[in-house]
C-alpha cells in the first residue's frame, strides 16, 4: 500500500473523510512555506498538496494567483519543490504535488517523476493535463510509482468520467463547481451529483475541492466524498495569522471531516 492509500484506508475505517490542504511551495518564502505546511499537518491535514507556483495559472482564482506571484517574486525555483516535499516526507507527512504541466514538461517528465519519487512525493494533481495528452506521464508515473490524480468536472460526460477514472490512481479530484479556485459561501449542489456519477466508474477515493472554507462545509462535503480539499482558505488564513491561522483552520476542518453529514 502506498502512503496515500493507507491514509484513505485509515479514514475509511474511522468512518470519515480525509482532509487535504493546499499551499504553494515557496509561499511566502521557501522557509515560510515549510513552516506553513508543517502547521497544516500539525493541525490535522492527512495529506498536503504542494502547489508549484506558475506564471499562468488559468484554473486559479485571485487568492491562489496572488500567493503564486508572491512565491515567484520571492525567487522560488522549481528544484526547491523537491526540498519542500522531502521535508514533509521526512516528518512522516504525505505530499502530493499540484502543478500546471509546462514546468514538468520543461524539467523533463521522467526526471520530474524520478526526483519527486525520491523526495517521497506520492503523486501529481494535474489541472491542465487531461488523460488524452498524458502518454508520457502515464509511463513515467508507472516507472517511478507515483499516483496520477486527474480532475473531473460537472461538465464531464459519462464517457470522459470513465476514461479519466481508468487513467487515475490514488484518488480522483472532483471540482465542485464550474469555475476556478477560491472560497465560496456554498459548495455547488452539483458536487454530490458529480461524486455519485464518478463512483459509477471507479472504486478509487474521490476528493472534492473548489470553494470549501470552513468546518461546516467540510462536514457537508465529508457526507458524500472521501476527501475534502481546501486551498484558498488556507492562504487567507496564512495571510491573516501565519502558522497559527493555518493550524487553527486545519483543526476546524479536521473536526468537520470527522462529523460527516
Amino acid at each position: 500500500m502506498t502512503g496515500l492509500e493507507s491514509v484513505f484506508a485509515r479514514a475509511r475505517t474511522e468512518g470519515r473523510a480525509a482532509l487535504i490542504g493546499y499551499l504553494p511551495a515557496g509561499y511566502p518564502t521557501l522557509e515560510g512555506s515549510q513552516e506553513l505546511l508543517a502547521a497544516m499537518i500539525d493541525g490535522g491535514c492527512d495529506i498536503v498538496e504542494v502547489g508549484v507556483p506558475y506564471s499562468d495559472p488559468v484554473m486559479d482564482g485571485p487568492t491562489v494567483q496572488a500567493a503564486s506571484d508572491k512565491a515567484l517574486r520571492a525567487g522560488f525555483r522549481l528544484r526547491q519543490l523537491f526540498e519542500v516535499v522531502e521535508r514533509i516526507s521526512s516528518h512522516g507527512g504525505q505530499a502530493v504535488v499540484m502543478t500546471y504541466w509546462n514546468p514538468v514538461h520543461r524539467y523533463g517528465v521522467d526526471a520530474f517523476a524520478r526526483d519527486l519519487a525520491a523526495a517521497g512525493g506520492q503523486g501529481i494533481i494535474t489541472p491542465d493535463l487531461i488523460p488524452d495528452e498524458a502518454a508520457t506521464w502515464m509511463k513515467a508515473s508507472d516507472e517511478h510509482g507515483l499516483h496520477r490524480i486527474f480532475l473531473v468536472a460537472p461538465s464531464s460526460t459519462d464517457q470522459r468520467l470513465e476514461m479519466t477514472a481508468k487513467a487515475s490512481s490514488g484518488f480522483i479530484y472532483a471540482t465542485a463547481v464550474m469555475g476556478v479556485t477560491g472560497t465560496r459561501d456554498k459548495v455547488g449542489a452539483g458536487a454530490a451529483e458529480l461524486v455519485r456519477r464518478t463512483r459509477e466508474h471507479t472504486s478509487l477515493p474521490i476528493g472534492v475541492g473548489l470553494g470549501v472554507r470552513n468546518g461546516e462545509q467540510a462536514a457537508e462535503v465529508a457526507g458524500f466524498a472521501d476527501a475534502v480539499i481546501v486551498g484558498s482558505a488556507f492562504i487567507q488564513a496564512a495571510e491573516a495569522d501565519g502558522t497559527d491561522g493555518v493550524r487553527r483552520l486545519a483543526a476546524e476542518l479536521a473536526e468537520g471531516v470527522r462529523s460527516p453529514r
Binding site: 506571484d69 504541466w101 509546462n102 514546468p103 520543461r106 480532475l151 468536472a153 464531464s156 471540482t175
Partner: protein, 424 residues
C-alpha cells in the same frame, strides 16, 4: 501523425481557381489529426471542465464547415459587411527600397474595422449563434480583435465582454472607447504582466465559469483544438484571394509570401493560399523588439522552446523552470510569448521560415510605406514590410514579394507620434 505541412502535390501555377469556387472550409490534408495535433504540436492542454465545451465547439464547427448554409452566410458577410475581396496593390515606390524587387500588398487594412481580424470574428460569431449561445468573451492586445468582436456582436445581437490587459487599455485607449461605443463591456486585467497573455488567462477563467451560455471567441490561430484549425480556415480567404490576384495582376506567383506573426492568424491565412506551391517561400516575421540579444522581444519561433501555454503545445518563450517569459514589442498586437501550433510544425518541417525584425526596423518601414505609397500600415504589418525590405535585397530585381498588410495604422498614431517626435 498528421500530414499537415508535408508538401506532396505541385499545382500548375497558371491554374486560376476563382476564390469563390474553392472550398476553403472542407476538411483536407492540411488539417491536424483527430485530436488536433500538427505533428507533435497543438492538442489540448486544458482543464477537464472545458473539454466538453471544446468538444461541442469542434462538433459544431465540423458540421458548419461542410454546411452550404453556413459557408454561404459567412461568405455573404465577408462580401457585404467586411468588404471582401480586399485589394491587391502594387507598391512600386516602396519597392525601390527593397532591392528593386516587385512588392505587392494584400490589403487587409481595407476590411471593415481595419484589419484581417474581422474574417475570423464573423465566422466564430455565426458559429456562436448556431450553438445557441448568447454571450461572447474575447481577449485583445492592440484592441483590433476586441473591436472586431464588439462589431460582430453588435451586428448579430450577442452580449460581449472583452478582456484587455490594463497596460494595453492605456496604450490603446481609443480602441477601448470604440469597444464601449459598440456596446461591449471592457474589463481591464490587473493580474500578471497585465498584457495580452493575462487577458487570455482571464478570459479562460470566465469561460470555465460561464461555459453554458458563453463562447470564447479566440482572436488568433492558437489555443486548444479546434481553435487553431478553425481560425486558420476563416482566414484562408486571404491567401486564396491573393493567389488568384497575383496570377491575374502580376501574371505569376510570388517568390516569397511574408506576414507578421503574433499568434499567427494573418500569416497562416495567407500562407495557406500557397502552401501547395513548393516554389513559393513562406516567411513569417516576428517582433524583435529591442533586438534578440536584449531579451526584450516577442520572437517566439526564432528564440523559443516548445512548451504548453493557453491550451496548446507550441514554441514558447519560457525560462529554465517553464515559467512564461513576458514578450515585448512596440506593437501591442505582436507581444505574445506563444504562437499557433501549426507555425511550429511549418517551422520544423521547413515549409515556412521565421525571422525577426526590431522595433526600429519596423518603424522605419512604417514611415517608409506611409511616405512612398500613402498607406499607413498597422505597426504589426510594418514588421512584415521590414521583412520585405530585407528579403527584396536578397532576391534582387527579379524577385516578387507578396506582403500581407494585415491592418491599418490609425490605431497606432499615438505610438508613432511619440516614436517620431511628431507630437508637439
Amino acid at each position: 501523425m498528421s500530414e499537415a505541412g508535408t508538401v506532396t502535390t505541385r499545382r500548375d501555377p497558371a491554374a486560376v481557381d476563382p476564390p469563390e469556387k474553392v472550398d476553403l472550409h472542407a476538411p483536407g490534408k492540411h488539417d491536424p489529426d483527430e485530436t488536433g495535433h500538427f505533428g507533435p504540436y497543438g492538442g489540448r492542454f486544458m482543464p477537464e471542465a472545458l473539454v466538453d465545451a471544446l468538444d461541442e465547439l469542434r462538433d459544431s464547427y465540423d458540421k458548419a464547415r461542410v454546411d452550404p448554409d453556413f459557408v454561404d452566410e459567412f461568405k455573404r458577410l465577408l462580401r457585404d459587411y467586411a468588404g471582401r475581396p480586399s485589394l491587391l496593390t502594387e507598391a512600386p515606390r516602396f519597392a525601390q527600397h527593397c532591392g528593386g524587387a516587385q512588392v505587392w500588398l494584400k490589403r487587409e487594412d481595407l476590411n471593415h474595422t481595419g484589419s484581417h481580424k474581422i474574417n475570423n470574428v464573423l465566422g466564430q460569431a455565426l458559429l456562436t449563434k448556431r450553438m445557441g449561445k448568447t454571450r461572447v468573451i474575447a481577449e485583445t492586445g492592440a484592441g483590433q480583435h476586441g473591436v472586431a468582436t464588439a462589431t460582430a456582436c453588435a451586428l448579430l445581437d450577442l452580449d460581449c465582454v472583452i478582456y484587455m490587459g490594463e497596460v494595453d487599455t492605456q496604450r490603446q485607449a481609443l480602441n477601448v472607447a470604440r469597444m464601449r461605443l459598440l456596446g461591449a463591456e471592457v474589463v481591464p486585467v490587473k493580474t500578471g504582466s497585465r498584457t495580452l497573455k493575462d487577458a487570455i488567462n482571464e478570459a479562460l477563467r470566465d469561460w470555465v465559469t460561464n461555459v453554458d451560455t458563453t463562447h470564447y471567441l479566440l482572436g488568433t490561430a492558437a489555443g486548444p483544438h479546434p481553435f487553431p484549425t478553425m481560425v486558420r480556415n476563416f482566414h484562408k480567404v486571404i491567401g486564396a484571394e491573393a493567389r488568384a490576384q497575383m496570377l491575374e495582376k502580376a501574371g505569376r506567383l510570388p517568390d516569397v509570401v511574408t506576414a507578421c506573426v503574433g499568434g499567427g492568424s494573418n500569416a497562416i491565412g495567407i500562407f495557406h493560399g500557397f502552401i501547395d506551391d513548393p516554389e513559393v517561400r513562406l516567411v513569417g516575421i516576428e517582433p524583435g523588439g529591442h533586438g534578440l540579444d536584449s531579451g526584450e522581444h516577442g520572437a517566439t519561433l526564432t528564440e523559443g522552446i516548445p512548451g504548453m501555454l493557453h491550451g496548446a503545445f507550441s514554441y514558447l518563450l519560457q525560462d529554465e523552470d517553464g515559467q512564461t517569459i513576458e514578450a515585448y514589442s512596440i506593437s501591442a498586437g505582436l507581444d505574445y510569448p506563444g504562437v499557433g501550433p501549426e507555425h511550429s510544425w511549418l517551422k520544423d518541417t521547413g515549409r515556412a521560415e521565421y525571422t525577426a525584425v526590431t522595433d526600429d526596423e519596423a518603424m522605419h518601414a512604417f514611415q517608409l510605406l506611409s511616405r512612398t505609397e500613402g498607406i499607413i500600415p498597422a505597426i504589426e504589418s510594418a514588421h512584415a514590410l521590414a521583412g520585405a525590405i530585407k528579403l527584396g535585397k536578397e532576391l534582387g530585381e527579379d524577385g516578387v514579394i507578396l506582403v500581407n498588410l494585415s491592418g491599418r495604422g490609425d490605431k497606432d498614431m499615438d505610438t508613432a507620434a511619440k516614436y517620431f517626435g511628431y507630437a508637439s
